[in-house]
C-alpha cells in the first residue's frame, strides 16, 4: 500500500469540499461540508474524516482553491494555491475533454468558463448580488420548508412559471412573498424563481459569451433539477451534470497539485487535532494601514500576510512590532 495520493481542498463561503485522488486522477474519497463561517474548523473536520482512511498513505501534494484559499493554503501547508476559475476549468476538462462551456454556480458566486480546444479562453464571474447563487436558493427553500431536492422536483411540475424580479435577493424575496399572497401555486413560484436565477445568470455572467455545447453544469446548485431545466429551456439543448458536480473545484485543485509534481508541504491529517487561531489587525507602521493576518498553530506563528511592504511575510511577530 505504498501508492501516493493527492489532496484537493475547495474552501467556499457556503461549503468546504475535500477530495483525495490517486495518481490517475480518480476520486478515492470526497467530503462535502458546510463552511458556516468557520473555514478552518470545517477543513479540520474534513481532514479528520479523511485521516481515518488515508492516514497510512502518503499525500504527495495538496492543492487549495476557493475564496478561502489563501488562509487555508497557509494552514494546511498546500503546495499549490489556485483560483477557483482555473480549478473548475481543469476539473471540467478532466471529466469531459471536449467540453466547450462550463457553468458553475456555488454558494456566493457563479461563473461561466468558455473552453475551446482544451484551453480556457474566456470567463466571467457575477458582478451583482447573490440572488443568482446557491445561498439564496438555500434560504428560499428553507423559507418554503422544502429540501433542495423537493424544491427541484416541485419546479419541474410547474405549468406556468411566475415572473419574479431576480436581480436583488431582497427584492426577489419580497416579490415571491407578494406572489404567494396573491395566490399563485407554489410550484409555479418555485419554477419562476428558477427562471429568475437563470435569467440573472445569462444577463449578467453569461452576457456576450459564446455558449456552445457540450455544456457542463457544476457546483452545489447543479443539484437543483429546476435550475437545470430552466437552463435547458433557455438554451434549447441538454446540459450535462458531472457525477462529482459538487466537488469539482476541489478535484481541480487536486489535479493541479498532481500536475505540479511531488512537493509534500502538507502538514498532515493530524492538523485536525491541533489548535489553530487566526489573528488579524491593522498594521500601524505606515499610512497604508494594511490589514495583516497571521495564523497561530499550537502557539506557533506562521508568517502573516496582507501587507504591502513585505515585512510580515518575513515572520515579524506582532509583539516585537
Amino acid at each position: 500500500m505504498a501508492t501516493g495520493y493527492y489532496l484537493g481542498v475547495d474552501v467556499g463561503s457556503v461549503s468546504t469540499n475535500l477530495v483525495v485522488i490517486d495518481e490517475n486522477g480518480y476520486i478515492m474519497k470526497k467530503i462535502y461540508l458546510r463552511t458556516e463561517g468557520k473555514p478552518i474548523l470545517s477543513v479540520q473536520k474534513g481532514l479528520d474524516q479523511l485521516g481515518r482512511d488515508f492516514k497510512d498513505h502518503e499525500i504527495l501534494g495538496a492543492g487549495v482553491t476557493g475564496s478561502g484559499r489563501k488562509l487555508i493554503g497557509k494552514v494546511i501547508g498546500a503546495d499549490l494555491v489556485k483560483n477557483e476559475i482555473t480549478a473548475h476549468g481543469v476539473a471540467a476538462l478532466h471529466v469531459h475533454p471536449g467540453v466547450k462551456t462550463v457553468f458553475e454556480s456555488g454558494g456566493q458566486d457563479s461563473k461561466i468558463i468558455i473552453i475551446r480546444e482544451g484551453t480556457v479562453v474566456d470567463f466571467a464571474m457575477n458582478t451583482v448580488c447573490a440572488a443568482g447563487t446557491g445561498s439564496f436558493l438555500d434560504q428560499q427553500a428553507k423559507r418554503l420548508n422544502l429540501s433542495l431536492e423537493e424544491f427541484g422536483e416541485l419546479a419541474l411540475r410547474a405549468q406556468v412559471p411566475v415572473r419574479i424580479a431576480g436581480r436583488c435577493s431582497v427584492f426577489a424575496e419580497s416579490d415571491m412573498i407578494h406572489k404567494q399572497q396573491m395566490g399563485y401555486k407554489l410550484e409555479d413560484i418555485v419554477a419562476g424563481l428558477c427562471e429568475a436565477l437563470m435569467r440573472n445568470y445569462f444577463n449578467n455572467v453569461g452576457k456576450g459569451k459564446e455558449i456552445l455545447p457540450p455544456v457542463l453544469f457544476q457546483g452545489g446548485v447543479a443539484a437543483n433539477k429546476g435550475i437545470k431545466a430552466a437552463f435547458e429551456k433557455e438554451l434549447g439543448y441538454e446540459i450535462t451534470i458531472p457525477e462529482h458536480y459538487e466537488v469539482m473545484g476541489a478535484w481541480g485543485a487536486a489535479l493541479l497539485a498532481r500536475k505540479a509534481g511531488k512537493k509534500k508541504g502538507f502538514r498532515g491529517f493530524s492538523l485536525s487535532d491541533r489548535e489553530i487561531r487566526v489573528e488579524s489587525f491593522e498594521c500601524p507602521d505606515c499610512p497604508n494601514c494594511c490589514e495583516i493576518v497571521t495564523v497561530v498553530i499550537d502557539g506557533e506563528a506562521i508568517p502573516g500576510w496582507g501587507g504591502r511592504c513585505g515585512k510580515w511575510e518575513k515572520g515579524v511577530s506582532r509583539a516585537t512590532g
Partner: protein, 378 residues
C-alpha cells in the same frame, strides 16, 4: 490659506511640489484607506462614480487636517468629472465644512473661474514670473521622472527575483522624489533607482507575458481603489504596460493645443470601431486596445468605475476587438462593493488563461515560440 487637492496615484508629489514652490502651505489628503471609502460612500450620491466619492472623501480628510482651500481641475463635459467640484462643494457646505474652492477649468470652459484660480495660486509671485516658471519646471520634471520610474518598475518587476526588494527600492524612490527640491538632482535620484533595480537578481523567464491596462484614468492610477492591480500582476510575473499616465493626462487634456499628437493617435486607432469622442477616456480605451492588438500584447485589462459613461461605451465595443485581434480582454467594473478576493480571483484566472493561450499559440506556431504566425490574427 492652507491648500489641498484631490489625490490620484502619485499626482500628490508634483502637485504638492508645485504649490509649495509657489509659496503656499499644502495639506495633502492622506492616502486612500478604509475610512476614505466610508466617507465617500456615506456622503456622495449613490450612482456617482468611485472617483467622485473618493475625491469628496479626500477633501473631507484634508479639511479635517486643517486645509482651508481646495484646488481642483474641471472640464467642459460630457464626462461627469467637469461637474464634480460643483456638487462636491454643495455637499460639503451642507455638511458644514468651510473652505474655498478654486477650480482650474481648461481654457474655454469657465474662464472666469480659471483666472480666479490662477490669480490665487500666483498671488505670492505675481511680480516674479521667474519663480512661477521655476515651480512649474520642477513639478513637471518630477512628474516626468515619476512616470518614467513607474514604467521601469512595471517592466522589471516581473523579471526580478526579489520582488519585495524591488518594491522597497521603488517606495524609497518615491519618498526621495517627494522631498527633493533641486531640479538638477532629480535625474540622479532616478538613475539611482534604475541602477538599483537593474542590479537585482533576475529570473529565468523567457518572454514575459505582457498585459496592457486601459480604462478610466483615476481607477488606473490610484492603487488604493484598484486593489493595486499593477503590482499584483507584476508579482505574478506579468509586465504591465499602459499609455495612461500623469504626464499623458496633462498633455492630452490641459495642453491639448501643444500636443495634438495624442488626439490624432486616438482618432486614427479607434476608427472605425468608435467613430466619435465620447468623453473621458472612452475613445482612448478603444484606441489603446487596438494598439495592443496590433502589437500582439498578450491581454488587456480594462478598469472602470461602476456607472462610468464613457467606459461603458468602450466596454460595449471591446468584445469585437477581442475577437478581431484574438486578444483576451478582462473588464473590471469596480465600486465600493468590490472585494479584493473577487478581483484577485479574476486576475489570477486571467493570467492562467493568458499563459495557457500563449503555450498553445507557440505550439501551433511550431518552434520555441520565437516564430510568430503572421496570419494567425484571423
Amino acid at each position: 490659506m492652507r491648500l489641498t487637492f484631490p489625490r490620484m496615484g502619485q499626482i500628490d508629489i508634483p502637485v504638492k511640489t508645485l504649490f509649495t514652490e509657489l509659496g503656499h502651505e499644502v495639506v495633502a489628503p492622506p492616502p486612500v484607506t478604509k475610512r476614505t471609502f466610508d466617507l465617500g460612500v456615506k456622503y456622495a450620491p449613490e450612482f456617482a462614480c468611485l472617483p467622485f466619492k473618493m475625491t469628496l472623501a479626500n477633501y473631507i480628510e484634508a479639511i479635517e487636517k486643517g486645509a482651508e482651500a481646495v484646488v481642483t481641475f474641471g472640464g467642459a463635459g460630457p464626462c461627469r468629472f467637469g461637474y464634480f467640484a460643483q456638487v462636491q462643494r454643495r455637499i460639503l457646505h451642507d455638511l458644514g465644512y468651510d473652505f474655498e474652492l478654486f477650480l482650474l477649468d481648461p481654457p474655454g470652459a469657465e474662464t472666469r473661474e480659471l483666472l480666479r484660480g490662477l490669480r490665487f495660486l500666483f498671488r505670492e509671485n505675481l511680480k516674479a514670473p521667474g519663480r512661477i516658471w521655476q515651480a512649474f519646471r520642477l513639478a513637471w520634471a518630477k512628474a516626468v521622472f515619476l512616470d518614467r520610474a513607474n514604467q521601469l518598475y512595471r517592466r522589471l518587476l516581473p523579471r526580478v527575483a526579489q520582488k519585495k526588494a524591488a518594491e522597497m527600492e521603488y517606495r524609497k524612490f518615491l519618498r526621495v522624489m517627494a522631498a527633493e527640491r533641486d531640479l538638477s538632482r532629480l535625474e540622479l535620484v532616478y538613475t539611482a533607482l534604475a541602477h538599483n533595480l537593474e542590479n537585482l537578481a533576475r529570473l529565468e523567464t523567457g518572454r514575459v507575458l505582457r498585459v496592457k491596462i486601459v480604462g478610466e484614468i483615476y481607477m488606473i492610477l490610484e492603487s488604493g481603489v484598484n486593489f493595486d492591480t499593477e503590482n499584483i500582476l507584476g508579482q505574478m510575473g506579468v509586465e504591465v504596460i499602459r499609455s495612461v499616465s500623469m504626464t499623458h493626462w496633462v498633455e492630452a487634456n490641459l495642453l491639448k493645443a501643444l500636443f495634438p499628437g495624442h488626439r490624432r493617435r486616438t482618432g486614427l486607432l479607434s476608427t472605425p470601431h468608435l467613430t466619435s469622442f465620447v468623453g473621458g477616456h472612452g475613445r482612448e480605451t478603444i484606441a489603446e486596445t487596438v494598439d495592443a492588438g496590433i502589437n500582439r500584447v498578450d491581454g488587456v485589462v480594462q478598469i472602470l468605475p461602476f456607472t462610468c459613461m464613457p467606459e461603458l461605451v468602450a466596454q460595449s465595443i471591446l468584445p469585437d476587438l477581442s475577437r478581431r485581434f484574438n486578444l483576451p480582454v478582462l473588464s473590471l467594473v469596480l465600486d465600493e462593493h468590490s472585494g479584493a478576493a473577487g478581483v484577485m480571483t479574476r486576475l489570477e484566472a486571467f493570467v492562467d488563461l493568458l499563459r495557457e493561450k500563449r503555450e498553445k499559440d507557440m505550439a501551433k506556431a511550431g518552434v520555441g515560440g520565437e516564430a510568430r504566425n503572421p496570419t494567425g490574427s484571423g
